[in-house]
Assembly symmetry: C2
């Protein structure tokens, strides 16, 4: 019977992150699967001046954001006992980066949080949504209870 061997959990450090990582960890234990973790620092709008916004390319801010994310991710990975070569910190479009890292590492299951979405948010889609569209592997969307 087919089981998952290589699980990637995507985290954003926001609410219920712990619930998602716990479910991924439980799955990896159940299937004796390798567990990797990814966090993507979203594309920064300040880098885009196509709408006439003359915000400067602020390297200090980017460095600070990445350092901050790196520390949080390392702490979480340690807590989950994930070795450093299975920890991915990327910058860019979250859905594209998650799908890319999953493909490059032969991941067979992506675990990701998913909000209920309504109105405009529904139209715009979500990261979970984008991953579902483009991933070549299975996707477990863990429902995040909206307040």
């Amino acid at each position: 019977m087919e089981t998952y061997q290589n699980i990637l959990v995507a985290v954003d450090f926001y609410e219920q992150c712990e619930e998602i990582t716990h479910k991924a960890l439980a799955l990896s234990h159940t299937y004796k699967a390798k567990l990797s973790i990814i966090h993507v620092v979203d594309n920064l709008p300040i880098l885009d001046s196509s709408y006439g916004v003359e915000a400067p390319f602020n390297m200090d801010l980017i460095t600070e954001l990445m350092d901050n994310a790196k520390k949080k991710l390392a702490d979480l990975a340690e807590k989950l006992q994930i070795p450093t070569d299975q920890v991915f910190l990327e910058m860019g479009s979250p859905k594209s980066e998650i799908v890319r890292v999953a493909e490059e590492n032969a991941v067979d299951l992506i675990v990701i949080g998913s909000h209920g979405r309504h109105g405009l948010a529904l139209l715009l889609g979500s990261t979970a949504n984008g991953v579902l569209h483009y991933a070549k592997c299975d996707v477990l969307a863990v429902r995040i209870k909206d307040e």
Copy 2:
């Protein structure tokens, strides 16, 4: 550690249906969870005359479609050893019916097949997509390899 207790697998009898049901079955065994199955006969366009299509309300055709689906679903349920009270045959919008049955039966994981989608299909979304948006529980989207 949290596990799934009540799994609902959605089937459409098309390609790779077996792969999806096998994954759902494996999960239900792993978690000693109850496994239910649902098939939704999609809304029939012939029932909609709002675009000036004067197709008759063909009760014979609907009865035939439902009988056919009922037989296929019963065969599949038997193969998977799913008791008849955990077999759901519905008619309507697949995403709405799957979400409704999941809620009414306190399902905590929906397993559904998901195609890669491009172009117009991406814009229109898919059943897996709709279920992901509206379900109040977790959703495992099993990637169907497109030919």
